[in-house]
Symmetry: none
Subunit: 339 residues, 4 copies
C-alpha cells in the first residue's frame, strides 16, 4: 500500500499515519521526495482498510499496490514460472500437449491410449480414475484400480500421468501411485479444504476454472494452494457457463492473455470439455495456442465409439496426431515450439 501525502504535510501528520499503521502490525517506509512525501506500508496491506487511512489528515491518496492475490501475481515475479514435470518443462517456450481418455477403463484401453499419445508426439498422459458425474447413476470411475492401471500404462510408455483428485481421502492413493500432476476439477475450484491439502504437497497441480468463476476468483483459488507452499500451479481454462446452447461451455479465449498478464504461472486449455464435441476440438485447440496457451489437455480414446464416458468429445489417435502437428506449426509462427 502506498500512501501519498499532501505536498505540505506536517511531521505530525506523518506520525499519525505511522501510528495507525503500526497498530495494525505493520511498518512504514518514509520517502521524502521533492514534490511529494510517499509512505510505503511494509507488511500485509490486506489487513488494513484503505478507507481507514484515507481519512487521516495530510493523506492525499491511498493506492493499493498489491492485488488480492500475492504469490501467484505477475507483480511478485516478473518472469514466467516454468514447472518441471519429470523433466518436461511447462510454462516456457515449449507448448505441451497432454492427451488421453476421459476415464481409465481397461489395461488394454490404457495401453492403446498411451501408445496413441506417444505416437501423436504428446509428452503426458491424462485419464480419470475418480470421475465427477452429474448423475449418481452414471459410471463413477474405477477408483484406486484406475490409478493402478494408469500408472502401469504411463510407466510402460515413459509418460508422466495426470489425473483428477476429488476428495482429500483419495490423496494417499495419489501419493502411493506417484501421480505426477494432480488435477483439481471445475467443480472443486473453490473446495478450499481440498486446495489447502494440495498446497501442502510439491506435486504440480492443474487448477481448472470453475463453471462461472471470474479470473480474479480463480487466481484467489490458486493463491490458496500457493499459500500452503506449493507454487507448482497450472491454470486450465475449460470453458465457462453461458446462455448459448449450441455447445457445452463457452471457451474463454480472452482469459489466456489476461492470465498471462496477471500471473507468472502457466496457462493451459482443455478444448475437449469446452466444446463438448470432437469436431470442435481442432478449431478450439488452434485458437488456444494462437492466443498464447502454454499447453493443452486433449481427450483422446483409442476407440471413441466405445468410450465409457464423454464419447462424443474424444478424438481418435490419428485425429490427435494431425492436430498436434497443427499445434506445432502455429507455435512456430509465435516463435515457440512443440514440447
Amino acid at each position: 500500500m502506498i500512501i501519498i501525502m499532501n505536498k505540505a504535510c506536517s511531521d505530525e501528520q506523518i506520525a499519525a499515519v505511522e501510528g495507525k499503521v503500526k497498530a495494525a502490525g505493520m511498518q512504514l517506509n518514509i520517502s521524502r521526495g521533492i514534490e511529494r512525501t510517499v509512505l510505503g506500508l511494509i507488511g500485509d496491506e490486506l489487513v488494513v482498510d484503505k478507507e481507514l487511512i484515507e481519512i487521516l489528515p495530510g493523506v492525499e491518496k491511498v493506492i493499493r499496490v498489491m492485488k488480492p492475490y500475492k504469490i501467484v501475481s505477475r507483480e511478485s515475479q516478473s518472469e514466467n514460472s516454468i514447472i518441471d514435470i519429470k523433466g518436461i518443462k511447462l510454462g516456457g517456450n515449449q507448448i505441451q500437449v497432454i492427451g488421453g481418455p476421459c476415464s481409465v477403463e481397461t489395461p488394454a484401453q490404457m495401453d492403446a491410449a498411451a501408445q496413441g499419445v506417444v505416437a501423436a508426439g504428446c509428452k503426458m498422459l491424462r485419464g480419470g480414475a475418480f470421475k465427477p458425474r452429474t448423475s449418481p447413476y452414471s459410471f463413477q470411475g474405477l477408483g484406486v484400480e484406475g490409478l493402478e492401471l494408469m500408472r502401469e500404462a504411463a510407466d510402460k510408455h515413459g509418460l508422466p500421468m495426470v489425473t483428477e483428485l476429488m476428495d482429500v481421502r483419495q490423496l494417499d492413493y495419489f501419493l502411493q501411485y506417484g501421480v505426477d500432476v494432480i488435477q483439481i476439477g471445475t467443480r472443486n475450484m473453490q473446495n478450499f479444504d481440498l486446495l489447502k491439502e494440495v498446497g501442502r504437497l510439491k506435486v504440480p497441480v492443474i487448477l481448472k476454472r470453475g463453471m462461472s468463476a471470474t479470473i480474479k476468483e480463480w487466481l484467489m483459488s490458486a493463491e490458496y494452494i500457493a499459500a500452503g507452499g506449493n507454487h507448482n500451479i497450472i491454470f486450465c481454462e475449460r470453458g465457462v457457463r453461458s446462455f448459448e446452447t449450441a455447445y457445452r461451455n463457452m471457451l474463454d479465449v480472452t482469459a489466456i492473455p489476461v492470465l498471462k498478464r496477471e500471473t507468472h504461472l502457466p496457462v493451459i486449455v482443455d478444448p475437449s470439455h469446452a466444446g463438448g464435441k470432437a469436431w470442435m476440438v481442432p478449431a478450439l485447440t488452434r485458437a488456444a495456442v494462437a492466443a498464447g496457451a502454454d499447453g493443452l489437455l486433449i481427450e483422446m480414446h483409442p476407440s471413441p465409439c466405445d468410450a465409457w464416458c464423454d464419447a462424443d468429445q474424444a478424438l481418435n489417435p490419428q485425429e490427435l496426431k494431425t492436430l498436434v502437428n497443427d499445434v506445432g506449426a502455429i507455435a512456430k509462427v509465435l516463435g515457440r515450439e512443440l514440447g
Copy 2:
C-alpha cells in the same frame, strides 16, 4: 429416448444404432418420415449414455424423454415432503424463517443473536463455524470452537442449529455437536463425495444452489444425497451469477415454482447472499414468500457494524422482526402461515 437421424442416413447406419441399443437390452421403433428418420428407444433409457448414441454415424441428435432424477422427482411422489427438524415442520403449510449471523464470533454475540432470532419469531438459528472465503487471507471461521459456541446458544434458547459443512473430515464434529441441519454451500453443490457422505445420514440437509447450476443439475445433486438413503433434503435458492453488477447475485425467483413442480421436497430462499446488501433483503424476502418459498435463511447480526464478515448484508434484530411480520402477512394471503 428419441434418436433423430441425419437427412441422408443409410440403412446400415440405422442398423448400427439398432445393434447398439439392443446390446443394452432395449428395443427400437423406427419411424421413417419425409424429412427425417426418427428412432424411438423402448426400455429404461437411463441405462444408456446419450453420448454413446450421439457419436454413431448418421445420428443427428438424441433426446431423452425421461427425467434423469428419480427419487427427488414429483413423478415419484405427488404430495409434498414435510421435513421434521426437532418438531419443526418444513415443507408443509407453514413458512419457516431461519435467522442468525454469517459467522460465529463470540459467546456473547451468539447469545444475542439467538435471543434476536427468538424475539423476531424465527424457529431456527443459523451461523457459520467453517467459512468458505474467496481469499486464503480472510477469516476462515472459528471451526470446531464455533460449533461449540453455537450449540450452547442454540440450546439455551431452544433453537435447532443450522451450519455449513465444507469437508468430510468435519463430519464427526457435526455429529458430536448434534448439528440439526447440515448446510451444503454453493461451492460444494457438486462436491459429489461430500454429497454421498451426507446421503448416509438422516440429518436434514440444506442444499444450496451452485453459483451457475441449472435447476436440473441441482436436482441431480439432491439425487446423489437421496440415492444414499437420506431423503431429508431442502433446496435453497441463493441467487446465481449474472452479468449484472448492481448487486451480488441474481435471485432466481422463477426457480421456486419450477422446483415445486419438479420435486416434492421443500424449497427455501437465502435473500441475504442473493442481493448482498441489507437494504435489499426485505424486498427479496417478500418476493420469495409470494413466489411460494417454504422458508427463508436470513442473516441477522446483533450489531451488523461489528460483524467479522459480510457486515453489509446482515439485518439487525429489529429489522428482522419487522420483516418476519411481513412474511406472516403475505403467507396469510397465500393461505399459509408463519411457522
Copy 3:
C-alpha cells in the same frame, strides 16, 4: 463534480483548475474551508473527463456527484413520478394491471379480451399490432389494421391502449389511432434513434429491459427519452437471458428495489414473457408485487389454445381475475392498493 484541493494549495493552482473548467463551458464555486478548499463544478460534469482534472497540480481528489443518468435519477427528484394515463395513475400508491393478448387477431378476439380485462379489474388493455418475431416466417402482426381493431375494442370498453412501436415509420399511425402508451420492446432498448423519436412526444412510454442490459444501461436508455423532453417513462422488467433452460428468461426481481432507489420513475413487471409459461405467471406476478412493482403487464387471451402467438404463456380471463385478486391482497399487506 467536486474537486478537493490539497490543504496548502495555492491561488495559482485554483486558478488553473478554474481555467480548465471554464474552457469546457462550466463555472466553479470556490468554498474555502478550514481543512480543505473545495471546488464545486457548476454545469454538466459529464462533458469533462475526471482524469483531466485529477492530474492538475494542487488537486487532491475528484469526485463525480452525478450519475451518468440525470433526468431520470432519484437524485434529481426525490419523490416518485406519477404518470397519468387518461386519468389512471401509475407510480403512486396504486398498483396497475395491464392485460390483454400477445397479438391483435380479430375484432371478436379483441372485444372478448377487453371484456375479460375489465371483468378482471384491470384498467388498461395491451395487444400487439406490430410483432417482433425471431423468425421471418412467423406471423408478424396485423400492422395498422391491428391498431384499428385495438382502438375500437379499447374505446368500447373504456380502456387506454398499450402497444409496441418497432419502427419510426409506424409512429404516424400510432398518433393517428391515439395509442395511449407506447411500448418499446426488449430488442429496441438500445435502438437510440427510436428512443429519440418517442422522446419528442408526450405519450407515456413503457421501456422494456434489453435481453441482457444492465440496470445502468437501461437507465441510460430512459435518459435518451427524457433528454428529448418526454419524462413519462415506465420501466418494465421482463426477465433477462441466463444459462438456465427450465424457463424462457430469468425474472430479475432484485432490479425492482434497485430501480426504485435509483430512479423516481415507475417500475412494472411483465411476468408472462419472463417465465414463458402460463403456469409460472401467478408466482412471478405475486413476487413482483411483493418486491415493490408499481404495475404489471400480463398476457391474457380469451382462448389461449387458439392464440396466434405465445399461446403457452397467456392466462385465460378467469385465471387473470383470480390473479388480480391476489395482487390486491398482497398490495394491501404493503400498504398499497389495486388500481
Copy 4:
C-alpha cells in the same frame, strides 16, 4: 416435429393433438412406448407453431426436428458463399482484414487512417459516421458528413468502405455515398424492420451478433435479410455479455466453427470490441484466424490517444501492420492466405 405426451395421457388427448395437426395439413405417426407415448409429425413442421401444440392437454414437450433457418443454412447450400466486395472476395480461401477508426472525425484523420490501412496490407476501410452510444450525452458521430469524409478517404486510397447503419432513414444517404458494406450493429441484430430494409438491397451486409444472442437467433436474423433477397451476408462475432469483468465482452471463439458448420455464409471477427483493450487485440485476432474466421474487423486510429471514442481499444498503424503479418502466417498454416 416430435410430440412427447405425459405419462398418463388419455386417448382423447392424443386425438385432440391429431386433430390440430391434421387441421394444419400434416399427418401424425403414433408410437406408444412403455414409459411415454411419442407422436411424430409428418410434413413441413415450420408451418405449425411449437407453442400451439405445447399448450394442448396431455402434451409434455414438443421438439422441432428441422432447422428453423433455411436460406442461410448449410443444408440448403453445401459450398461456401463467397461475397464479392468491389472485387475483393470474402468467404473463400483468403482472409480479409478490415481496418479503421471507431468514428470518422476529420478529413486528415480519415486520410491517415486509410493510409495506415493500406500500409498494413488490409483491403477495406471501416469507420463510424452514425454511432450507437450508451449515453445521450456522448459524441453521436458526424452523421452524413462522416459518410462524405469517409467516402473521400476510401476513394483516394482505393478501399471499399464499411460503416454502420442504425436507422432506416439513413439508408438513402448510404446509397448516395455508395457505402460498400453496410454494418448492422450488435444493438440492432433483432431490429427486424431494419433487417427487412437491407434485405431489399444487394449491398453486402455485416451482421454483428447481439449482446447475448444465441447462434440460432443470429442465424434467424440473417434469414430475415436473406428472405428479402439479399444473400450477401457476413456474420461478425464481437464477443458476448458474460459475468466476467476483466474485459468488456467474452469473445465466443467456438461460434466460428459452429457457424461454419451451420451456414455457407462467411464469418468474421471483431477482436477490438470483444476485449475492449488494445493490448488484448493481437491474441484475440490470432485466435479468431486459427479457429477459422474468414476475416477481421480491427480498430486502428492514426493516433489512438486523440481518438474521440473508444481510444483504449484502437491499435496504431504500426501495431496493425505487425498483427496483419501474424494473420498471414497463421493463415498459411491453415492452407489459407491473407487477402
